[in-house]
Point group: D2
Chain length 333, copies 4
């Protein structure tokens, strides 16, 4: 039985608490937040869990094997460092940290202490993303040409981080996971609105090896909610629309082929307009799967799909994008 | 009665011929193409028009007041120059030219000869775009924050020009027209596929004065056809989906407002989720309106909405994007 | 403070419990179910409420002013009768009863004992339906011409009642409420599938006074989920799509007008294709509003919108439809 | 070469003329209409075809092997009778006639004269409908449970026929063709609006042998255009949305199965939620295929898919529906 503590009872923490409370092989041992009212409220739901407003109590608690951190981004590094140093396994809400140096240090620290460090890139455990990765691994799309995502809606404005660090971690992690190749450069632009000190919209282009182009549009100021990813492959293409309740992923047997024709200077471009199909996709909760994966990795001494290294790769993309927004340059990674 | 000639009987030329043949105040005088079979075919539809495979015959014909050019982009400059020099009014299919210098020269030439030079940025005459411009002019959206467009589909690959010069002129012209402010810089990225020598997808970011961000995604390799423009304003926002048969333009009374609250460090962000409405929009053909506007401008000696200067502004954006794709830099305009 | 008991802890009962537990002016006093495991589970959520598997205990409890019945349809009559006789106010899940005679008796009984009898036709309290009723009352649609609803999806098959008595109460109540006129006749057809003894799909046509036609398509065997209502009016028309998260109700300024033209035998039919708008609609929970309305009616001695008489009118429509399915005749009501 | 004449140059006739003019193996010989202006206009497009306002001239013309009739419904019988009697093959726009007796007589007459009588139920030749029929024939849907169609939009009001005779022939022919079993009864309801003497909306239920339920909703007074057909099968289900440009037909691997479980009184109902796929469907024009099929049948002496007998079956359904609207009874066919 793995004892779990959750630090941070804001928006995401209660979801973590619920999953640790119900997952096989885990026990929800402690809940921590600075705000006593939040603690009281959550305590009623999980009377068996100890509550505290002192992080130190969590770290000193011998029954706590695993610390899940769901606090503001700027506190991730400090809390994760303390937890790893105290010999705990650590789950950190995305993004891992707000800068590259901190992320690198956490990766090293986890290795040094032999502890699991997992970033809660929840979408990686979403059945739809898993289906997409499987399709790509089996070669159903052929060679990947591009990844295009749009993740826009009205609000919620965050005060401490920009839309880039709030929404783009989702797409950066999915994109990086699906493509599975090194990033060459990042280029981005953004804008601030409503008097806010951080970007409320951003466009981020990422070039991977083999000339694969990735692009993310994240926006807190859109009148409509869009959650759409298009992946273009040399054989097939897919669209993942997370707004849909069913048929979230559609695979199109469509493409373009180049044919050289003797005696004709211009090559012929041929279109293939074949069937579309939408595979049945499990309705399992992504976070539930993430937590199960984490528990499995702790028990078996494995590295999670979204380990510290994966979290670091995402932070590098975000950091590159942030710098590119500022200086207008293509940032080599 | 204004005598019109159309050069180029490929995809777009027959549409121009049809509109000049039926527009009040115009007469379709000549049709010109290098391909005699095309001429024969179109001649059956317009038996009253003279046909020729010699541009010179068009330019020498005294009954021709106006030359409409619907040929490959790299021929626009030469043909337009000759026509203006011959004292003809000129309509050029978009984009005006393939580079800035040629566009500048054509603008000068039209001024020097006192002839109307209009670029066929057809969308500017689309009732939906006209409605959007009117809404913005009346202040219904407040201050414009951003313009975001997605114009993607499968094919048709062009051999001589990239997707940037093929599809982005539409959005560059609409965006530039709607925002009505000078461009500060352009930044872009693109990729080539299927062994083609030109980009089949591109992302272009444009910053206008007053920190207004524009973005265009153009793509010939998308499994689905998307024709969507979002305009974010400080008061309202709109979505224009050209794929829809009705309700193409939807205006959302939604937004974000920043409120400072005394004694509280963090400002409060408030969301407004009001009504949506979709104004009735005329089903008039955009090209028909464009041709009528051109004839009006010739008769009245006015400058068209999409005159040479507007065409040049679009070419500057495309040219900047092309350079940014190549060198990864933010190109100041 | 009105003391509430909920009988039946299946699918809907817990929703009632939650709302009585949190509504101002109410106190959740008792929870009743035959199944002790269900009671234990719900008891953990509402430790302050007494639990029992004996209905008699509920009826004898002096602190219980109001009994909410969320049990299988065939038990509604007996339970409601006992509760009213015991001097309790009663809320019954839809439909009120499985036949007309029982519904009539309950209406009489409530009157006799001076107690509030309300049917939980939840949709009547849905902000979207309230908006529609208001629009119609203000004359925005003109005279109502027709009401058409489609409520179809895959499952959930009920064992004791047909799709007619399971899904059609929603539409029968909305339709009857919105139109507000007496029903003249009902005509229906249905089919049974998968070896079930009850209809899994049905089409019900209802003619109201003034030649207003209503129609309901209910189906447990549809591959897609549809929740759509169209209301045609002489001035405007509306579509209510409950599957949408936002813009659930759209009002179309569209219609047909007949113009007699002198000297022409055929009258001219003219179409009006005006604006569409989607009013902002509250996201309040319908059941929450229903419960608040019930508490208000109990306190003030008012008759609820969905009182016994309204529930009886719905049962009459369903009963007529059931008979028409069987004998193929138009049933006069 | 089969010589074709088209009578009636209103809405549909020009489409027939265009297809006969371009089909292999056919020659457009004559065009006939009472209105001389229409003849002049169409004559310009088909200068090789003879024009006349006298039907007699068409019937006497030896070069005319085939007469296509695209006139108001009440004239179909007389014109088709004359043409068959004159030894011509006949294509009649849907519906074949306005009553059963006339349709029966035409069927007999065609047999007597050994001529092809085809009804232009164009949708039967639509690639989507052909795909659906093939899927069903191959058993992909299992046993058909129901057919549900919605064909609604705003206008166009017809003066001489109701929406039943205008729109329902499409669905009656598709439904009858796909199900391929005898109709047992028809039941319908309708309403008239805007002072018109004919129904502007109607609901028609049809029961086929083997308890298969068909339903059609046709409506000229809907604010939105819907063209949707759902076919429920014991193994799979499909949705055909003709409004979509691509993916018109979607097949859902979804269904319900009944399992008896020993020792449990209630049978278990299980749901299957599998993949969806949308087969690629040809974009060929349905009318083009219909005309090719007709020419083939004339050459080979075959009976068309939509021969007189098929047309008669559709007329029987419409006639039954019309009578049911009037008397409220289930009409046995």
């Amino acid at each position: 039985m793995i004892g779990a503590a959750v630090i941070g009872m804001g928006y995401w923490g209660p979801n973590l608490a619920r999953n640790f409370a119900t997952a096989d092989g885990a026990q929800l041992v402690m809940l921590c937040d600075k705000d006593r009212r939040r603690l009281e409220k959550i305590s009623r739901q999980y009377p068996a869990a100890q509550v505290t407003d002192q992080v130190a109590e969590v770290l000193e608690n011998k029954k706590v094997d695993l610390v899940a951190i769901a606090t503001p981004v700027h506190t991730h590094y400090q809390l994760a460092r303390q937890a790893l140093t105290a010999g705990k396994h650590v789950l950190v809400e995305k993004p891992l940290t707000g800068n590259v140096a901190e992320a690198e240090e956490l990766v090293d620290l986890a290795a040094k202490h032999g502890r699991v460090l997992m970033v809660d890139h929840t979408f990686i455990y979403h059945p739809a993303v898993e289906k997409i990765r499987d399709l790509i691994k089996r070669g159903e799309l052929g060679d990947i040409c591009y990844y295009d995502s749009v993740r826009i809606n009205l609000g919620l404005f965050q005060h401490d981080i920009s839309v880039l660090w709030d929404l783009a971690p989702h797409d950066a992690s999915i994109m990086e996971h699906i493509i599975g190749k090194p990033v060459r450069w990042v280029q981005a632009a953004g804008a601030r609105h409503a008097g806010q000190p951080v970007e409320s919209m951003a466009y981020v282009t990422v070039q991977f090896e083999d000339n694969i182009l990735g692009h993310m549009h994240v926006n807190w100021l859109s009148p409509v909610k869009v959650r759409q990813i298009i992946v273009g492959g040399s054989k097939r293409m897919l669209v993942y629309d997370d707004n849909l309740v069913t048929e979230k992923v559609k695979i199109y047997d469509r493409g373009v082929e180049l044919h050289s024709i003797e005696g004709i200077h211009q090559a012929m471009v041929q279109y293939r307009m074949g069937d579309m199909y939408a595979p049945a996709i499990s309705t399992d909760e992504a976070l539930r799967r993430a937590v199960q994966h984490l528990l499995y990795c702790i028990r078996e001494g494995k590295s999670p799909l979204t380990d510290g290294a994966a979290g670091l790769r995402v932070v590098r993309i975000l950091d590159g994008a942030q710098r590119s927004i500022a200086n207008g340059e293509r940032i080599m990674l």
